[in-house]
């Protein structure tokens, strides 16, 4: 994945709770075997509605997605992360993420910013008032800030995830450094454990 240190820009307020991965990218899009081209499927069942927030002119070009609580619950489809990223977002903000979605974010360099609901709501209001509000997310400092409205918050991200974000590291490559440990574990597995062949 590409390295990400800081995400700076404008945000879109998607002010509803429980936006599950079926809403982020409907299952019709999952039939594709390619890794790109999912931006057209992002929220596709809502985008016909001209009043949908992504269609509003003042939010076009924003690179931070503000979501309600329980964002990305449901299916394991990594396509949801690909769609958000390929549409142009570099970070997603919510008070609570679906766990598989959040994990998938970290594998692709989409920054999952998990902060308390009060701060998310304050950011939503601020962005609704001023769509040009500038927001800065700093991965190393684990901070999100909108100085113009005096909002600032800290979010959790493990040291190992931060390291991979900052350096754009390949997870598999890191694990392969432990091949000796895997070999050794494998040689001690009980022989009665099942095989598929």
């Amino acid at each position: 994945m590409d390295a990400v240190q800081v995400v700076q820009g404008r945000a879109v307020p998607l002010n509803r709770s429980d936006v599950d991965t079926d809403q982020i990218i409907p299952s019709d899009w999952l039939k594709r075997v390619e890794r790109t081209g999912f931006e057209k499927g992002l929220f596709s069942e809502w985008r016909d509605d001209t009043s949908f927030v992504l269609n509003q002119e003042e939010y076009i070009g924003a690179n931070i997605l503000l979501g309600g609580p329980n964002f990305g619950t449901g299916s394991s489809r990594e396509h949801a992360v690909w769609a958000i990223q390929q549409y142009g977002f570099a970070a997603v903000v919510s008070s609570r993420f679906g766990p598989i979605f959040k994990n998938n974010c970290t594998k692709n360099g989409l920054v999952p910013v998990e902060i308390d609901q009060e701060t998310v709501a304050a950011l939503m209001r601020a962005v609704e008032d001023d769509p040009d509000l500038e927001i800065t997310i700093d991965v190393a400092r684990r901070s999100i800030e909108a100085p113009a409205v005096d909002i600032s918050a800290h979010f959790e991200l493990s040291a190992s995830v931060i390291e991979r974000f900052l350096e754009g590291l390949d997870d598999i490559g890191i694990t392969m450094r432990s091949t000796d440990s895997i070999d050794s574990y494998e040689s001690n597995r009980p022989p009665w454990k099942p095989v598929t062949k």
């Binding site: 075997v33 489809r77 990594e78 895997i182």
Partner: protein
């Protein structure tokens, strides 16, 4: 202090720990299907990495495949390409595959257990969130994304951050007519869609212990719906009886060795869970979901709630949106809601016991005029068993459509879809907007309630048929 079941299974799989990195866990079984694997295999080709353990990997076609006329080529060219891609990848990387029409083909979470591949104390992963199903055997089983699918293919391991432990105890005894599905819907109603985030949940207590393996799989299947990393149940005699003699279960002396090891897999009396939830099973009645997330549930016969029934503003807002999407007036009783379609199937409720339960309700009745009905067995083996028991004839005589195995209308990736506004009583696991087809309206129920609803035309329990 003692350890919980999930801590014991976790510790048995740690390949590497410490060093500021999450634990690296060994994966005993990797299940693959056509939807979440193509980009992972592409990744292996690009990096020239082989599959480390094809013999711990198994594959099936399930999400896309049609449930009728399966002797014909798949009509949708995009689905066909995805299924063909899986066949090509399994051939190239030497992975055993159960293709459409193979007697062992079926939904990935039905196939693993029925072949005896899912066993207590294992780690099981799949690029599918309902992998939690396999926790019914006392395994740590969880859904992963495509990047992680590639990681497991390449290394047979996954780095995993530590999880909290959660116990969900269901005390007492279920009332007559209530099922495993009602238990898990009641749990969802209590903890909500986020209640398990960051934790591995262990289901415990007399109600859980009394469930069959099929019932336990139904409960664990929906652990992801409340956000748990995994859900599991301690193995016991019910587990061992289910496994014994299955094709991949240990045999001979290995069986005794395995059972001795499995018997150790339970939570110590002095273990302390990070979170505890307790339900009284004797109060759990048949449930139905009314909204667009699986935490929005009520008892069959109750009234559709109003947004003002909820305290949290986010819940009020979600309820308002759900009422609009579902086309409801608050206060409508469920037995006045006309249902268009009944779907019996999915990795939650398509096993032989589910079909037996639905058939027992249906027997001697006819489906309501104009009702669309589908019974989709979870696998070729379930289908064959059902035919042997004559269940197919019971469904057909009542007017049900009897189909070939697959995921089908649970997520509408194949031709089985709801139309805009079509209302469905479904034994599946997700009532999200558009889940069963754009604009479709899904209500989650047990096989028994689905069957009774097919006959009555409105939401009903088997008891209502006798009334």
């Amino acid at each position: 202090m003692g350890k919980t079941l999930s801590q014991k299974v976790w510790e048995q799989h740690v390949v590497r720990t410490g060093g500021g990195q999450p634990d690296l866990l060994y994966i005993d079984l990797h299940l693959i299907h056509e939807v979440t694997s193509p980009q992972a295999f592409d990744g292996l080709r690009i990096t020239k990495r082989p599959v480390r353990r094809p013999d711990l990997t198994i594959s099936t076609e399930d999400h896309n495949i049609p449930t009728k006329d399966i002797h014909l080529p798949i009509e949708d060219p995009v689905s066909l390409k995805q299924v063909q891609t899986l066949r090509d990848n399994c051939k190239e990387f030497d992975i055993r595959l159960f293709s459409m029409g193979d007697p062992n083909n079926g939904i990935v979470h039905v196939v693993g257990p029925e072949l005896g591949l899912t066993q207590p104390g294992m780690t099981v992963v799949c690029g599918d969130s309902h992998t939690s199903t396999h926790g019914a055997f006392g395994a740590i089983a969880f859904g992963i994304g495509t990047s992680e699918v590639e990681h497991v293919l390449a290394t047979q391991t996954l780095p995993q951050p530590a999880q909290e432990t959660m116990s969900i105890t269901v005390n007492g005894e279920l009332p007559e007519g209530s099922t495993a599905k009602d238990v898990v819907l009641a749990i969802l109603g209590k903890v909500g869609t986020g209640g398990g985030i960051g934790a591995i949940a262990e289901f415990r207590g007399p109600v859980i212990e009394a469930l069959s393996m099929e019932g336990r799989m139904t409960v664990c299947n929906m652990a992801i719906e409340f956000g748990a990393k995994a859900g599991l149940i301690a193995p016991d005699q019910t587990t061992f009886d289910y496994l014994k003699g299955r094709p991949h279960a240990p045999a001979g002396d290995d069986w005794d060795t395995a059972v001795a090891a499995w018997t150790e897999l339970n939570t110590d009396d002095d273990a302390v869970f990070d979170r505890e939830v307790v339900l009284d099973g004797s109060t759990i009645k048949p449930h139905v979901s009314w909204g667009t997330n699986p935490g929005q549930v009520i008892e069959v016969g109750a009234q559709i709630p109003s947004p003002s029934d909820f305290a949290d503003p986010a819940d009020q807002d979600a309820a308002q949106r759900a009422l609009e999407y579902m086309g409801f007036e608050a206060g409508t009783p469920t037995n006045e809601i006309k249902v268009d379609t009944v779907f019996i199937g999915s990795c939650t409720n398509s096993r032989i016991e589910d079909l037996r339960a639905a058939a027992a309700v249906v027997k001697g009745h006819k489906v309501k005029d104009g009702m669309r009905t589908l019974v989709v067995p979870g696998s070729g083996l379930v289908k064959a068993q059902a035919i042997e028991e004559g269940l197919d004839q019971i469904f057909l005589e009542a007017g049900f459509d009897w189909r070939e195995p697959g995921c089908s209308m649970c997520l509408a990736m194949n031709p089985d879809k709801l139309a805009v506004g079509e209302r469905c009583a479904s034994t599946s696991n997700r009532n999200f907007e558009g889940r069963q087809g754009r604009g479709g309206r899904t209500h989650l129920v047990s096989p028994e309630v689905a069957a009774a609803t097919a006959i009555m035309g409105t939401f009903a329990t088997p008891a209502d048929l006798e009334a």
